[in-house]
Symmetry: C2
Subunit: 213 residues, 2 copies
């Protein structure tokens, strides 16, 4: 007899993800699941987006193995934030989000950022119930990442290439990156930007507004 | 009744890691398990080390989810290399190394680099049978990584901080990084270097030679 353990775990996660999706829909919250390598700039993208939100009211769920460094930065801005420490776990899952949602003032949030654990592999396999998956790549990582981590880039509804102010310094091959991305996820929107300088943030902000509907 | 599935998997891995350790010892090979975020510079460190090996004969095992981009670079140097594609798996394990060792000319190798999957979480939990774990961090990732990924940095016998030529550009706080590292892994040697410029490579090469014995 074959025991499909992995399938059962994933199904359980998906069931909770569906409930999260419903919770967010009822509350009128548009949720973004931000996934990236460590240090690609997930928190920087959240901070730069917060600066440009206008009337939209934000909320944040921060996922980390340990510590609350990023959550502290967000909280200092007066934005509602919940820290999830996975205690070594390599990804967020739907039950963690379900718990975090219970601790957020949902009626006061329009746009929810979920910052996943820094990991370009495992988070892609766990639905959280957010509306969109966003993968944040960054220039110093190199232009071959879509080829090497196809599962993550295939799971994205949008890709951000951050630290674009460093394209010349790192001799980053944008065309090679774009071809790799197109290979694993044809047509996915790509936003080349710098959270530091603000260059390219407009296109990203437009996408957020339009997708939110 | 409690079924300790995870424990059994780890034990099975450890048993194979022990056999790998023996295989390498018998062949007189010193093995390094290189772990890092995607794009931190594992392949660059291997290439820069190859340039400085002198009489030591190298071999390489390349771990990736997909593709053989790095293995192609190594092979172009005439160095024996085996590519492991995990097919989505987030880390290398001891049985993968066992298979790869069977495909390498062990009698012609003194120093074996194992380039793990780019992931600052999962690889730390799987012993491969190599002599030393080396964690490669890089400046653009930011100085908070030891605090956020303590398990990985705690598992290291040496830490390399690569892309040191970018310390000023990224306003990288070396002292904060060092304090975090010291917190999770007191006394672990840290090599601050740039594979690109070669600065700091001497200290790393000395460590490799001394540890090899």
């Amino acid at each position: 007899m074959k025991i499909p353990v992995v399938k059962q775990i994933l199904s359980a996660n998906d069931a909770v993800a569906d409930r999260n999706r419903q919770t967010l829909a009822v509350a009128g919250i548009f949720g973004l699941n931000l996934m990236a390598s460590p240090g690609a700039g997930k928190t920087s993208l959240i901070m730069a987006t917060l600066d440009r939100l206008g009337d939209l009211r934000p909320g944040v769920i921060e996922g980390d193995l340990a510590a609350s460094i990023d959550a502290d930065k967000i909280a200092a801005r007066g934005v509602p934030v919940v820290q999830i420490n996975t205690g070594g776990g390599c990804h967020l899952d739907a039950p963690m989000i379900q718990s975090a949602l219970a601790d957020l003032p949902l009626a006061e949030i329009d746009l929810l950022f979920v910052e996943n654990v820094g990991n370009l592999v495992c988070p892609a396999e766990f639905a959280l119930g957010t509306a969109r998956n966003v993968v944040v790549a960054s220039v110093p990582e190199g232009s071959d990442k879509p080829y090497k981590y196809p599962g993550m880039f295939a799971a994205a509804q949008a890709v951000v290439l951050n630290k674009a102010d460093m394209i010349d310094v790192f001799e980053f091959d944008v065309d090679y990156f774009r071809r790799g991305l197109e290979m694993v996820n044809p047509g996915v929107p790509l936003f080349i930007l710098s959270c530091k300088t603000g260059a390219g943030m407009d296109g990203w902000m437009n996408w957020v507004q339009i997708e939110r509907g």
